[in-house]
């Protein structure tokens, strides 16, 4: 502080150290003179290398189906459509026959149309929080660049469908939580049916 220029030289020392830290030989040199140094190389060559994302990394939502694509968990209750802050979800359904009775697949009603406009979606995850059926989850795919505003960014039901296996693969701990919750729910609804079955053979 007293001698003019010392502050500037000190600052230049910092930039020199940071420069040296980006090279292996530089790190060896720094360690040789007794300066602790870490790997200063923090950038990656993007298209060739990809960053490892954390498990919770979220991008766009997708619809979960259990075994076959027509066995989707969504029952078309439209809660996510209502709660979506930027209103990017559009659901038509539940599917009905000519008499207006709801059609069922695997014991559940299902949507006729389920579109998400990815250009509007802000990846907030509120649809996942509010879904009572754990039917919608967040994907970690992020490369969706498209020259076309509407054609390729409005995802329909077919594009959104992904298996529960896939979900387990990308988010193992979250999938385990969801599975436990679904199993508990099934156990809760199952008991009245279960005791009803065994007495029948015994009485007959």
């Amino acid at each position: 502080m007293t001698i003019l220029g010392v502050g500037v030289l000190k600052g230049l020392g910092v930039t020199l150290k940071t420069f040296l830290e980006t090279y292996p030989w530089g790190r060896v040199l720094l360690r040789a003179v007794g300066i602790p140094s870490a790997n200063g190389l923090v950038t990656i060559q993007y298209p060739d290398e990809r960053q490892q994302h954390s498990e919770r990394f979220r991008y766009f939502p997708f619809l979960v189906y259990d075994k076959t694509p027509d066995d989707l968990r969504c029952v078309s209750c439209k809660i996510c459509e209502q709660e979506c802050p930027p209103a990017c979800i559009h659901i038509v359904g539940p599917a009905k026959d000519e008499q207006g009775r709801p059609l069922k697949a695997h014991g559940r009603t299902y949507p006729v149309k389920f579109d998400i406009d990815m250009a509007i979606c802000m990846s907030c995850r509120i649809c996942v929080d509010v879904c009572p059926f754990d039917a919608i989850e967040m994907d970690n795919q992020y490369e969706f660049a498209s020259p076309d505003r509407f054609g390729r960014l409005v995802f329909d039901k077919q594009q959104l469908l992904k298996s529960a296996e896939y979900f387990k693969q990308i988010k193992p701990s979250e999938a385990a939580e969801v599975d436990a919750r679904l199993a508990a729910k099934q156990a809760k609804t199952a008991p009245p049916a279960k005791p009803a079955v065994p007495p029948n053979p015994s009485s007959a």
């Binding site: 502080m1 502050g7 500037v8 000190k10 930039t15 954390s54 709660e83 802000m122 509120i126």
Partner: protein
């Protein structure tokens, strides 16, 4: 020779609208006498997104992802402010662990904001790249923590009334402890680079002085106010959340110039690290991350109908006092939703700080206020 003798005219210059080093889109209408500023009119509104009106038509929970986009550097603390207001309005208790996690997130946000804004200030001064990228290197480590906890780097949408949306993943706290341990090394390096640098001192000392009285009268808050030597920190004054449990100092400036504001930020980062150390030590593993009432609100936002009334939740955001004012009429949507944005209020005294200074100083004075236009225009 005076102006009249030469019959010189004042020159009106529009600085912007542009992206003045990622503060956002902003224009200054400057009237110059030679190189000296005689009048300055900030022009805002380029980034207006109708946030308050959207908030009045959406449920309380649906406003959270929009608050991320107010001050896009400090998503976590923005969420925190709104959560406090909703808790006051609906009488929602907060879980113990949730309180700690929120404070940890808010202080990490302060670290990354102050580091980045110092980099931007140097960028405005013409030191292109170097200090900014050093700051961004450290910021990236904090953003990695945010991504691991919330799933998103910047638009976290993590804090909720009653706690936080999800507990942090296993091992996260140890990672945070390691970061807090290593961060002072970066700060020492950063200070060696900047604090005693003669060029920076020459450039920033006695520039853009904000007198104490004016700062108070203009209701400036945050490092801008404390740089002028006014001891006012909402964490101390209001004692919201669990801040009274931690011991930390409030760093103050003496002159109120650009250099003081820079240095107050550096010292605040060191105080934040103290809070983080204490919080990471005391955090209790047993309790859930969110209280039952808060969880019910997250799962079913439309069932939350707070009683008629109003609430004001405020926090010491990195930029100053961030307040959320909510009026409820008993429906799932707020009747009125207003945000007191620190960037906007602090920007109002830009002219007083710039008068009589050179035009090049206006740029660094703007940089030292620390504004983000997402918050100014809402």
């Amino acid at each position: 020779m005076s102006q009249t003798e030469l019959d010189a005219k004042l020159l009106e210059v529009n600085l912007g609208p542009q992206h003045p080093s990622t503060h956002g889109v902003f224009r200054m209408n400057v009237t110059l006498d030679g190189e000296t500023i005689v009048k300055l009119k900030p022009v805002v509104g380029y980034l207006h997104r109708n946030h308050e009106q959207i908030g009045e038509r959406a449920t309380y929970i649906a406003s959270f992802p929009f608050t991320d986009r107010l001050d896009y550097f400090c998503a976590m603390s923005n969420n925190f402010g709104l959560a406090l207001a909703i808790e006051k309005l609906g009488g929602i208790a907060v879980s113990e662990r949730g309180e700690y996690l929120r404070v940890i997130m808010a202080e990490l946000t302060r670290l990354l904001n102050h580091a980045a804004v110092t980099g931007f200030l140097l960028n405005d001064m013409g030191a292109f790249g170097t200090p900014l990228l050093y700051a961004f290197r450290e910021r990236e480590k904090i953003l990695d923590l945010f991504e691991a906890a919330s799933g998103s780097r910047m638009m976290c949408n993590y804090v909720r009334p009653g706690g936080v949306r999800q507990d942090v993943p296993p091992g996260w706290l140890d990672q945070a402890r390691r970061l807090v341990e290593e961060f002072p090394r970066f700060l020492d390096e950063f200070e060696a680079l900047l604090t005693e640098n003669e060029i920076i001192r020459q450039r920033t000392q006695r520039v853009g002085i904000l007198p104490k009285e004016l700062a108070v009268n203009a209701s400036a808050t945050g490092p801008l106010l404390r740089g002028s030597g006014v001891n006012y920190d909402i964490r101390k004054v209001d004692g919201y959340s669990i801040y009274p449990r931690f011991s930390f100092k409030v760093p103050l400036g003496t002159v109120g110039d650009v250099y003081d504001r820079y240095y107050v930020r550096i010292l605040e980062m060191r105080e934040s690290l103290k809070i983080l150390q204490q919080a990471l030590k005391e955090i209790n593993d047993a309790s859930p991350a969110i209280s039952p009432k808060g969880l019910a609100l997250v799962k079913a936002p439309r069932t939350f109908r707070p009683p008629k009334g109003e609430a004001y939740g405020r926090i010491e955001a990195p930029k100053g006092e961030l307040g959320f004012y909510l009026v409820s009429d008993g429906t799932p949507q707020p009747y009125r939703y207003h945000i007191r944005a620190p960037s906007f209020i602090n920007l109002t005294i830009l002219e007083d700080m710039c008068l009589g200074q050179k035009v090049a100083d206006a740029i660094i004075i703007l940089g030292s206020i620390d504004i983000v236009m997402g918050e100014v225009d809402r």
